[in-house]
Amino acid sequence: MTNIVVLVKQVPDTYSERKLTETDHTLDRESADAVLDEINERAVEEALKIKEAGEGEVTVLCVGPDRATDAIRKALSMGADKAVHVSDEALHGSDLVATSRVIAAAIGKLDSVDLVIAGNEASDGRGGAVPAVVAELLGLPQLTHAHHLAVEGSTVKVDRETADEGITHLEANLPALVSVTEKINEPRYPSFKGIMAAKKKPVETYTVADLGIDAGEVGLTNAWSAVQSASPKPPRQAGERVEDDGEGGTKIAEYLVGQKLV
């Protein structure tokens, strides 16, 4: 029986225009459709595969505002068994260190966790450090950037792939934390039965106080970093058109060399 916790996050849909608020430069959650981050769908899929191959229970854990229940419901509709939702006004604008503390404390509330699975990086914050920080806080071995994951008895094996270092093969004793990359799998679509069952699955909600964390340790005013200013992406410039009069290939090569792209 493997007890798996999957960290999930609700993010603005990458297909919509994403903005920061003008007042405090935190994420403008109203401006875009909110979805379960795709990398988390892969994390959930991986957990479900482990569960289906043997036995186990999959708990999804989400830190986010009340409307993040939609993202939680999506994970439950895919087949996760239950959820933990940490929702507190005080968390608004928390940095990744504070967020990781909250996650670690919430995991601490659960009985006998064998494996924590996270996405390697959320598509909004892009910090990519939460899995490692959570592992440090919990004293778990961290096996990050996994494109392959296998649980064998009381050990977990991971193929770790990064752009700089190639592939490394990692192994650790459970309990452990694994973060997955987008190459790990193709997430399933929720079945109709999964969708209908999702609403009946238990979701436990916590405030930061419930987790024994002081509101003064989290939130925007206590963050170690702050966004000073933000400006929208400049509009795309018109490209350079190359007419092919027999010399098109040469001209394109010259252009690429001029841009130091080749």
Partner: protein
């Protein structure tokens, strides 16, 4: 009793729509067009949708289905169309055939067929239209006569969808009433490999992955259990199947309309001729805004029809289903036309796929029942005007 009326779908319906749209989009309109243009089908998508229970949402849970209603099934149909992957057999196989068998089939028939409908592994075509009996079901001449314990079927059907993909066809025929000697309607399940059944493809100027067929029944021998339910329930059976067909027809049109409107608005946002995107010009913007209104109105009526049907109000659902089918077809025809206009020359370039949608949208005005027959229904039943035929 609560007096509050809600006009939003339950969370689960919204989640179902999203999941179906995502699955359809992972295949996409280009996949659909490629299959249709090369004479292929959309089996991979059908099977995936079946495994996820999307095709069996309305089949009772005891047979492995989702236990939902036509409201759920029509949402699935609409979302696949809106994602650019319409599946015409959804209108007949799970909507008409599974509904008729679920409500009127014998226990043996339900046990045999419904688990397959729940997973999409069974596909059943539906045959009512005849060359000389288009919308007039009283002129149906396909006739079954008793032959020992079984039946012998003779006759002809036309414009039957997806016969080459189907395991069986649900055939509306007639049989002799033992008491009066008159012919009365009766429904038969006819396996597509039955000796004496010939299916001839009809050449259509439609870009569709589901083909049309003429069917010829030449002394097709059927076992006694081919008759659906009891011999005397056929009229009720037909009504049970035809309302879902109209609701599904409306949803099919709604999905096409949404796809066309999405394509048009996306294009109008980015296409610049002078300094501003063409969508800023009222000549482009207002027709698209009007179409948005028409789609929402038609969708609301479709949801009403489905809700009435699912609540067991067959008669009330009839009027709403007819109106929804009419409104959705009109919205789709207009949406596709305006999408083509918004795209200019690109609107008819194969790459954009809108030209193929012109004929597809046009089907909604003709099938499953013509616009004129819907208007006849409204004139007579809703307005009480005299009948002309």
């Amino acid at each position: 009793m609560s007096t509050t009326m809600t006009f939003t779908e339950p969370e689960e319906r919204t989640a179902l729509r999203k999941a179906v749209f995502d699955l359809g989009s992972s295949f996409g309109h280009d996949y659909y067009l490629a299959q249709a243009r090369n004479g292929g089908h959309t089996d991979e998508l059908w099977d995936a949708a079946g495994r996820l229970g999307y095709l069996g949402v309305a089949v009772p849970e005891q047979y492995g289905g989702g236990g939902g209603g036509i409201g759920d099934l029509s949402a699935v149909c609409e979302e696949f169309c809106a994602a650019g992957t319409p599946m015409l057999l959804m209108v007949v196989s799970p909507a008409i055939c599974a509904t008729v068998l679920s409500r009127f089939g014998t226990e043996e028939q339900r046990d045999h067929w419904l688990p397959g409908f729940a997973t999409g592994q069974v596909r059943m075509a539906f045959a009512i239209t005849e060359p000389d009996a288009g919308s007039n079901a009283h002129n149906i001449t396909t006739t079954a006569r008793r032959d020992g314990d079984g039946w012998v079927l003779n006759g002809q059907k036309v414009f039957i969808s997806g016969v080459d993909e189907a395991d069986a066809v649900l055939v509306v025929g007639r049989t002799t009433d033992a008491r009066t000697g008159n012919l009365k309607p009766a429904l038969y399940i006819v396996p597509t490999d039955s000796p004496g059944l010939e299916a001839k493809p009809i050449e259509m100027d439609l870009t569709s992955a589901d083909k049309q067929f003429s069917l010829f029944f030449d002394d097709v021998r059927l076992p006694g259990n081919a008759l659906v339910g009891s011999e005397d329930a056929a009229i009720a059976q037909l009504f049970a199947g035809l309302n879902p067909e109209r609701i599904m027809g409306a949803s099919f049109s709604l999905g096409i309309a949404r796809l066309a409107l999405d394509r048009a608005t996306e294009y109008a946002k980015v296409r610049k001729i002078w300094d501003t995107p063409i969508g800023a010009h009222q000549g482009i913007a207002h027709p698209l805004a009007e179409i948005k209104v028409e789609i929402e109105l038609a969708k609301l009526m479709t949801q009403k029809a489905a809700a009435l049907y699912d609540s067991g109000d067959d008669m009330g659902a009839g009027e709403a289903a007819n109106m929804a089918k009419y409104a959705a077809a009109e919205a789709a025809v207009r949406a596709v036309d305006q999408a083509v206009q918004t795209h200019g020359g690109n609107g008819l370039a194969s790459e954009y796929g809108l030209g193929a949608m012109i004929a597809a949208a046009r089907v909604g005005r003709i099938a499953p029942v013509s616009r004129e027959m819907v208007l006849n229904f409204v004139a007579q039943h809703s307005l009480g005007l005299p009948k002309s035929y």
